[in-house]
Amino acid sequence: MEILLIIIIGLLHAGGLYMLLRRSMFKMIIGLILLGNGANLLIFLLGRLVKGNPPVIEDGMKVFSDIYADPVPQALVLTAIVIGFGLQSFAIILIKRVYKVLNTDDLDELNSTDEEI
């Protein structure tokens, strides 16, 4: 199963980069989100895969009695997901503004300085 996940991580990175390199701002954001997903999955995978044993201590116990999934990558990924959302929503609104002001979705038309706006 890990091999399949690794392939998916590679696909997400490749697809994310490819979209990041497009001139359209919309596609750029898609790329950003794909890369984010890929990175999250990567970190998660490195914590090893454990089925059906979330890192939650059972009621009445003080420590784990069974094996449990690594909590540290989970905490990291949780943070990353939330921060990623902040970035995505900001970027989405930003390109909307850019489109409103400049009437274009093409990054190459944004190479000039502020004064022309």
Binding site: I3, L20, I33, L49, P55, V63, V72, V82, L94
Partner: protein, 769 residues
Amino acid sequence: MLIAVILGFIFALLVPLFSKFLKNAIPFLYSALPLSLFIYFLQFLGEIKFRGHILFRFEWVPSMGIDLSFRLDGLSLLFALMITGIGFLVFAYTAYYLKGHQYLDRFYGYLSMFMASMLGVVLSDNLMSMFIFWELTSISSYFLIGFNNTDPASRKSALTALSITGFGGLVMLSGIILLQATGGSYSFTELLNSSEIIKNSTSYAWIITLFFVGAFTKSAQFPFHFWLPGAMKAPTPVSTYLHSATMVKAGIYLLARFTPLLGDTFWWNSTLITIGAVTMVYAAIHSVLRVDLKSILAYSTISALGILVFLIGIGTEKALLAAGIFILAHALYKAALFLITGIIDHETGSRDVSKLSGLKQVMMPVAVAGFIAALSSAGVPLLLGFISKEVMYEATSQFGDWAILLTVLAVLTKILLLVAGFWAGIKPFVGKLPLEFGEAKLPSPLLWIPPLLLGVLSLGFGTFPSLITESLIQPVFSSISGSDTIVQLKLWHGFNLVLMLSILTLLAGGILYWLWKPSNDLFQKTVQFEVVSPQNIIENGAKSFGSFAGLWTGFFQNGYLRNYVITILAFLTLLMAYRLFGEVDIYIDWDQISNVSHYEIIVVVLMIISIFFAISTNSRTTAIVALGVVGFANCLFFLIYSAPDLAMTQFSIDTLTVLLFMLVLVKLPKNKQYSSKGIKVRDALLSMMFGSLIAILTLEVFEEPSSSEVSKYFADNAYLLAKGRNVVNVILVDYRGFDTMIETVVLVIAAAGVFSLMKLDLNPSKKDL
């Protein structure tokens, strides 16, 4: 001693104060400075004669081995006396030469700054502080050459001089550091003890190469010589002081100073002899092709510096003695010639040697000074130049197999320099006085006494060499050569080869002077060779380097963000791929891989299909939906592999993103195809390489045994310390609570940004947007 060195800096700093309250007294005040320093240094003559050298130590940056130690020995004393003595004459001369100049006060400030830096260079025992003073001379020279700052040519020459000497200085700095690394000290006196270790070390070749570049740039050796003629844009007192008597000799000083430490090896000698010989002959030929008095003097100065390098390169006791005497003799006669040129320029407004003549009739004392200087430069008996020339011929004619070649070169240079000297010191004064210069008159004694005084010294030392033999030349010789041989200077050596060579030089020079008249035509003919001159080559090199830098920057900093990404990632990918395939053994450890169940397969297939759709679709809605599916598939992975919190977060966030996307972006225009097919293929290739690289790296990292001490600590203590059962939550709100708080702040900032971007109206006149 410290005060003596930095007094000039203090005076330079006080210029604004003085010019406000004592404007008229500045020339006197500032001329008193070098005079008193000259007297101060004179009183060391006796002590140096007996003790060899005196050390003065002042701490500066002891932790780095840098201090302000000063070493006074024969060589540095000779230079200190020249700097302050000629300095005094120049300071006094300037009082009249630039009388009433708007920036006279500034000029004196620069001059004192220069004098202090130059004293620092020749007196420093610590090589680091010597380097600092060395650079300060370049900087003050920059100000002085560009003193007429309204003249573009003057500014350009100043910049050229600064870049060449500054460059050399930096190269020398690396030499100093290397020397310190090899010899273990920045102190010259301490390094002297480890001379053999340094000479036998592997970095010796580097050290001398780096020092040579420093010395050759400063002392205008071929091919770095061209800044010196350019520097003649400076007012004549500056040319006298910096560019003939003192600063350009700093390189010579450096070589002479390091002769006992680094000298007397094959590379040292052969390099110096070659460069010195090329410079002296090349510049001597140039000097007799010029018509501008200052150009003639500039080239003859370069040639003289070449002679000094050549002599130090020969390195025998006789040659070093000749160098020592020649430093003094040259300073005396060349400074006089420059000062005389300044007077002629000042009084007639012309420096064209082909037009000047007959000035003897109006300015006799100047003419006398000119004759003495020219004769000393020619090496006529009874003048100091004669003695230096005799010793030099002795040195060359005794130099083994190469004696004949070296002697011929020396004689040739001397003959040409004789002509150049006569042009500068005799030609303007003899013959008929042309009408156009009829109004020239004898200037203030302040102008003509300095060159006359220098002439008197040439004459006095030349006639009675015993005046300086024991007191000055002997210590100079000892500190250059490090030997104890007793120096004897005599006027009469008997009829021998050296005397024949002297007579030959004088005769040939006299005949050449008689036959060869300075002419502008001849100079014009040389202009066509400028293309291959080192100046042109180096300037073109600098220019093409500039345009290369422009192209380079334009290529990499092209303003397209994605091109930066491509460059960085392509480089990274190729580099990592090279390492991965070259040295890493890629394998799959099946023991660590878990089995695949059917529901997992479904999620994986779902994921792959939706990634494919998100990338390839042209419809915006499809892309957003596909993205949503990717997110939800991710969510399922989290759910399957025991991360319910992640699954929940991912689920809600993904829903929000899709909604936001839909709400905001649906109104955008249709997706357009911007890129051509080729670009897409290129990007796709790079992306696939990058993706594979990440996949391989993930595999490699995954196979590595991981340490889970941190996780174990968190899990073991989640309930015991933090009273929480969900370890992930405990980590977020307890162990890493601060991180989470800051993260919340980031989210708030993002929300504020989103909100203000939605409300922001950049163009109030177009409300309908």
